[in-house]
């Protein structure tokens, strides 16, 4: 058994799927019954999952009940009960960071979907040959390197010389529109009230294309005859969208919204690079994930960071569950 397993792993490491499936069919009964097949299908996944995902989870739970000076080694943990949780719940900055996170998750997440769905529909039906190019263009921010994004946006958002303020200054000259816009250059990354909108804008910019691709892939699976039939019945584009497209998108919508909830509440990379890893003036751009990171690696308090990550975990889990509930009635039945 051990040798077969080793041979299988080797075949997999070679990415030799033919050999792997040969080994599998040798070992397993050739005709699996429907009762055993799901276990076979999920076993590689579960094995890896147990080793590489569950252990870290358990470790961080263990850590949440301890005080630890990490450079002293693993033996240096001291049990402190729920002290870390008590500290986290009474910590001003933890709550502040949660507030920031929810703010930015909503401000960047909601528009993503409100724009991505119509955009995907439009690209799917309205562009014909230009579609590949258009999808590509919207997807580019997702593959642009974070280093480039950091430099770029810090120069775009620059107060005195940035292109954004330059554009605003020009627009200010236009009569009617100008009165709505600020007369002074905006200090984007220096003033607490501007940091969150700036970050949300970047998150929106970065993940819009990602969602478009998800929705586009889902739109492909809607049979064309459905629309055909609807058109025969005289349904306009809106009714087609409302009664065919949207219901068909439901599983993907669920998936994409769940990812946005999870990703939004774990928001880390964009505010991290834009505020130099610190969260900005008055911690206005400090998401909970950044605060966790800083608590562990900057303030050297791994126990409190673990406790906070579990509190965040429960929050995200709760919201994911709520999303799940909201989408359930139809999601499983198709």
């Amino acid at each position: 058994m051990r040798q077969t397993a080793a041979a299988l792993l080797q075949a997999l490491a070679r990415r030799d799927l033919a050999a792997a499936s040969r080994i599998l069919t040798d070992v397993l009964p050739v005709r699996l019954s429907p009762a055993t097949v799901p276990y076979v299908l999920i076993s590689p996944f579960v094995l890896l999952f147990l080793v590489f995902s569950l252990f870290p989870l358990v470790f961080s739970l263990y850590l949440a009940f301890h005080v630890w000076e990490p450079t002293d080694g693993l033996a240096a943990m001291t049990y402190v009960g729920i002290d870390n949780f008590r500290f986290a719940l009474g910590d001003d900055w933890f709550w502040k960071s949660l507030g920031n996170t929810v703010w930015m998750a909503l401000a960047s997440g909601v528009p993503q979907h409100l724009v991505a769905i119509p955009l995907a529909c439009f690209l799917n039906s309205g562009l014909g040959r230009g579609r590949d190019l258009a999808v590509g263009v919207f997807f580019l921010p997702y593959i642009t390197s974070t280093v480039a994004i950091a430099i770029l946006f810090s120069s775009l958002f620059s107060t005195d010389y940035g292109l954004i303020n330059l554009a605003l200054a020009h627009l200010h000259g236009i009569p009617l529109l100008g009165t709505l816009l600020p007369a002074q250059p905006v200090d984007w990354m220096g003033r607490p009230e501007n940091i969150k909108p700036a970050i949300s804008l970047i998150v929106f910019w970065r993940y819009l294309g990602f969602n478009v691709v998800l929705y586009l892939a889902a739109l492909q699976t809607i049979p064309g005859d459905l629309y055909e039939a609807a058109r025969m019945d005289g349904a306009g584009w809106f009714r087609q969208f409302w009664f065919i497209t949207l219901p068909s998108l439901r599983p993907m919508l669920f998936f994409a919204v769940t990812l946005s909830v999870i990703g939004g509440l774990q928001l880390f990379e964009e505010p991290f690079i834009l505020t130099g890893g610190k969260g900005g003036s008055d911690q206005a751009g400090m998401s909970t994930a950044i605060y966790l990171y800083r608590t562990a690696f900057d303030f050297n308090d791994f126990g409190a960071a673990s406790a906070m990550s579990w509190l965040l975990f429960f929050l995200v889990a709760g919201l994911t569950y709520a999303t799940n509930r909201a989408f359930r009635p139809r999601a499983g039945s198709q």
């Binding site: 990415r15 799901p38 590489f52 989870l57 390197s145 994930a289």
Partner: protein
């Protein structure tokens, strides 16, 4: 009824125009930072740090490339990144399609609990796993080994979730039942019927996995110890310090690092999105 259709027809002509315009402008905004990345790659760090930044190509790209290749084993890092991303994509597609299909189509013990657990791992901030992951890799002897980067990621909650949603949405149970009736083996059903139908989902997942692996830096940061074994993001980051960064070389490296993704996206978008309509839905 007639009036309504006539007004809507004039709106019908205006609306697409507006939509094209809107999408065009939006696209330009999307494109701008990408453009700057390539422009910056051709400038020295002194130019990059001027304001407003340079808008057109400069002539420092060779110098930047020279700095890059003298500071890093850049081409080897690039090759390793390709290898890891490809392996990661392969494993993820295989394992996640199996898992996702099982979660969507079968009933088995602990299914709900297991799925909840899988989703649960999506919710833990990844840097909280740094130290335990390091412990595991160390115990396995996988430090400095590429497999430490692509094996763990193959059990990917995101992938299982994506495939599960796709199977629910687009693979009719009747089809699987019918195949079973025809005497097709269970693995045969998975391999010959389910996988082909999953192509759009797998294409999306593959693309996302490849990109995630390509840009991943926390993973290599934990397990890679020698500069020859760094993947690109880690190698490029190694050029950065708070006070003395070769920004020009860094931008050149970033731009080169984006090219494979660009090519991949072009290839796959034609394959996935354009070719799909005919392939998947029949």
């Amino acid at each position: 009824m007639a009036t309504r259709s006539s007004t809507s027809s004039s709106a019908d002509r205006l609306a697409p125009l507006m939509a094209h315009l809107l999408v065009g402008v939006g696209g330009l905004l999307m494109l701008a930072p990408f453009w700057f990345m390539f422009v910056f790659a051709t400038h020295s760090r002194t130019d990059i740090f001027s304001l407003p930044p340079p808008l057109w190509f400069g002539d420092a790209s060779l110098g930047n490339l020279q700095i890059l290749t003298s500071r890093l084993p850049f081409w080897r890092n690039l090759g390793l990144s390709l290898y890891v991303a490809a392996a990661s994509t392969g494993f993820t597609l295989l394992f996640c399609s199996m898992g996702g299909y099982a979660f969507a189509m079968f009933e088995f013990r602990f299914k709900r609990a297991l799925f909840a657990l899988v989703m649960g791992t999506l919710l833990v901030p990844s840097f909280m796993n740094m130290i335990p992951t390091f412990m595991i890799m160390n115990a396995l002897g996988w430090i400095d080994q590429p497999r430490a980067l692509f094996i763990p990621g193959a059990a990917n909650a995101f992938g299982v979730f994506l495939v599960r949603q796709f199977v629910i949405a687009s693979i009719p149970r009747d089809l699987v039942e019918a195949a079973r009736m025809d005497g097709c083996s269970e693995l045969g059903i998975y391999w010959r019927i389910v996988l082909p139908l999953l192509r759009p989902a797998l294409g999306t997942l593959g693309l996302i996995t490849f990109i995630a692996s390509w840009n991943n830096f926390i993973g290599p940061l934990i397990v890679m110890r020698s500069p020859e074994m760094y993947t690109l993001p880690l190698a490029l980051r190694a050029l950065q310090s708070p006070v003395d960064t070769e920004w020009g070389a860094l931008m050149t490296g970033s731009a080169i690092a984006t090219l494979p993704l660009l090519v991949l996206f072009m290839l796959s978008s034609r394959q996935l999105i354009a070719g799909l309509t005919s392939g998947a839905v029949k």
